[in-house]
């Protein structure tokens, strides 16, 4: 502590206006002792720019990572790109023995399983988001929110393990026959049903993307100004009418963003899907039939791929997956940002 008497406060002379010419700039020619001391101790300018440069370098490394991934994937799939061109994405033959590669069955499997998962997960997620925001009694709110976020912390391989030993038997023995009996006429549920297939994969995907959609849509709903809710309630709206008119309508862009983000997650999900989808390149509208996705064909066949063309075809599938998820995520991020103004884009 410095005693008051020891520090001399320099007198500041304020130049009077209109009292002759303003004297030459006489501002702090001599830096204060404290400042000189501090500048000596921590070589200011040089260290500052070096530190700033290091930070900038790390920030730029994120660009470098993305560019490097694209470069490496393109470079390593050159062989397949030259050989097949756009036909790669139209061909439905996947025959490593004769060297004929077409990715259509995998695209079909990825798109179908992800869309089914989104269809299952979205209504549930929105209901849970509404429940946690408006209906749930306050003491229960934090524990239930924590539990739903716990779902996000479970690793993919553990979901796969559970699905393989619990969900598959349930679909095979209990749910399958019922679905076949009542909905068999639609052509979506036709025996034989081994339990592994598109339906099981979609259900496990739905469970996995639920926390993403739920927590982000809760954030965007929270971002709706409280006045909007109060106005609706003051007009005599019931709770549902208030939610529909002021909350859901105002946050619909953000909710769409959350759904697309969930879709992006589902498109790239690998382990759990690989374990239960059956891994057979089929294009069929029968949901009991086994399928194959872009991610799971890589996981299954990459380490045993023989021959350069086979490997480069698999890497091209990875490149396609990368580009698709980048586009999907970019759209979703922009939508969520548009609503929350970048405040809460931490999740996912």
């Amino acid at each position: 502590m410095i005693e008051p008497g020891l520090v001399k406060i320099p007198e500041i002379t304020v130049p009077q206006e209109g009292s002759g010419p303003v004297p030459e700039a006489h501002v702090a020619t001599e830096p204060s002792a404290i400042r000189m001391f501090l500048q000596q101790r921590s070589a200011g300018r040089w260290a500052d720019s070096a530190f700033g440069g290091l930070m900038l370098l790390c920030a730029l490394s994120i660009f470098v990572i993305v560019l490097l991934i694209i470069f490496v994937l393109v470079a390593n799939s050159r062989l397949s790109i030259h050989q097949f061109g756009w036909k790669f994405f139209k061909g439905d033959q996947w025959d490593p023995v004769s060297g004929d590669f077409g990715a259509l069955p995998f695209i079909f499997g990825t798109v179908l399983s992800s869309i089914l998962a989104v269809i299952i997960a979205v209504p549930l997620s929105l209901c849970v988001a509404i429940f946690l925001l408006d209906i749930c009694p306050r003491p229960l709110r934090a524990p239930i929110a924590f539990l739903t976020e716990l779902l996000a912390a479970i690793p993919s391989v553990v979901y796969g393990l559970w699905a393989l030993f619990i969900l598959v038997p349930i679909i095979r023995d209990q749910a399958g026959p019922v679905l076949e009996k009542y909905l068999g006429w639609t052509g979506f549920f036709i025996e034989p049903n081994f339990g592994v297939g598109m339906l099981t994969a979609s259900i496990i995907l739905a469970i996995m993307i639920f926390p993403v959609i739920s927590s982000i849509s809760r954030d965007v709903m929270k971002a709706v100004p409280i006045h909007q809710r109060e106005a609706a309630l003051a007009l005599g709206a019931t709770r549902w009418e208030m939610l529909r008119m002021s909350v859901l309508r105002n946050s619909r862009l953000g909710i769409i963003g959350a759904v697309i983000l969930g879709l992006g997650r589902a498109l790239g999900e690998t382990m759990a899907v690989t374990m239960v989808i059956g891994n057979h390149p089929d294009i069929s509208k029968n949901l009991f039939a086994p399928g194959y996705t872009l991610a799971s064909v890589i996981a299954n066949e990459f380490s045993e791929a023989t021959g350069d063309l086979y490997l480069s075809a698999l890497i091209e599938i990875g490149l396609a997956l990368f580009l698709v998820t980048i586009v999907v995520n970019a759209i979703a991020r922009l939508l969520v940002w548009a609503v929350t103004r970048g405040e809460s884009a931490r999740h996912a």
Binding site: I34, R35, L38, Q39, S42, G44, A47, D48, F51, G52, M55, L56, L57, A59, F63, I65, V66, L68, L73, N76, L124, C127, V128, I130, F131, I135, L147, T148, L150, A153, I154, P155, S156, V157, V158, L161, W162, L164, F165, T238, R239, G264, G268, T270, M275, I298, A299, F302, S303, L314, I315, G318, L321, T325, I326, A332, R333, A345, R346, A348
Partner: protein
């Protein structure tokens, strides 16, 4: 209302009110029901995992390497240690890069075009499938070296950690009041000291939370390790060799046809979840003590 529409009878009015009230209660019920429906798989997964895992867990699991096919017993000691080695390497690379990039976004690039682009790229990178990271690390490192290695696995996981850490660091730094920074700068302390000793220290609890969450997220990743770390049935600490990892071992055992291996897979899953949950819970306790709270 009554001006533009014909007058309603009292009964109609009552019916209308009734319909609104019924719809309201129906939606409330639906929301409660779906929350219950969602909590069922969670409870089922965790409950079954604890039941199956705990009944298969024993001391040998933590001390032995996997037994050859057909022999009972064996454990995953090498996989637990291997996971630790890979995750340690990933943190060593990913944490500093992620934190520094976050510092750039919060302290230097606030509001600039470059800053916004970096932030956006980080968010997008966050959503890239983990298997793509695996292929990238394979093509960059494994294909060049001509052999699988723990190092490649660590790099793949490090890349996955960076965007998460960057974004949480930035958000935590953004909560540090400007007055504190200005006070430091006003004393003539250079910016780099201000960032290190004032901003980062004030936000440290939240930043540690972010790092632990990123760690927990990559700890369970399997896909990026499939063709980088590859897995190993024996003890190995050599980062230049294939190395065992817990999630990989769980995957291999789960899809195998042997009951004994299924049992070990459940035990492994329980240990993995316990480790991840432990990390997350620790973070919650820790972050609740700091000046600036992290987490959700």
């Amino acid at each position: 209302m009554s001006g533009s529409r014909p007058e309603r009878s009292a009964t109609m009015n009552r019916l209308h009110e009734l319909r609104r009230s019924v719809v309201n209660h129906f939606v409330t019920g639906l929301a409660i029901l779906s929350t219950v429906v969602v909590l069922v798989p969670l409870v089922a997964i965790v409950g079954y995992l604890i039941y199956k895992g705990a009944s298969s867990l024993n001391l040998a699991f933590f001390t032995h390497v996997p037994a050859p096919v057909g022999q009972p017993g064996g454990g995953m000691a090498n996989a637990i240690v291997g996971s630790g080695v890979i995750l340690g390497l990933a943190s060593l690379i990913g944490v500093p890069v992620g934190i520094f990039a976050g510092v750039y976004l919060a302290e230097y690039g606030q509001g600039t075009h470059l800053g916004n682009m970096v932030r956006f790229t980080a968010d997008v990178l966050n959503g890239v499938p983990s298997i793509v990271m695996g292929i990238a690390a394979y093509s960059l490192i494994v294909a060049k070296q001509q052999h699988f290695s723990g190092f490649a696995g660590g790099v793949a996981l490090a890349i996955m950690m960076v965007p998460t850490i960057t974004r949480t660091t930035e958000e935590m730094l953004a909560t540090v009041p400007h007055a504190i920074r200005e006070a430091a700068l006003g004393l003539g302390i250079p910016k780099w000291r201000t960032v290190l000793s004032i901003s980062l220290r004030t936000a440290s609890a939240g930043i540690i939370t972010g790092c632990m969450l990123a760690f927990a997220r990559v700890a369970g990743e399997t896909a990026p390790l499939l063709f980088t770390a590859f897995g190993n049935q024996f003890w190995s600490f050599d980062l230049n060799q294939p190395i065992a990892a817990l999630p990989l071992q769980i995957y291999v055992y789960a899809v195998s046809p042997y009951d004994e291996w299924h049992r070990l897979a459940w035990a492994g899953a329980l240990v993995l979840i316990a480790m991840i949950m432990g990390a997350v819970t620790l973070v919650r306790i820790f972050s609740n003590r700091g000046a600036l709270q992290g987490g959700h």
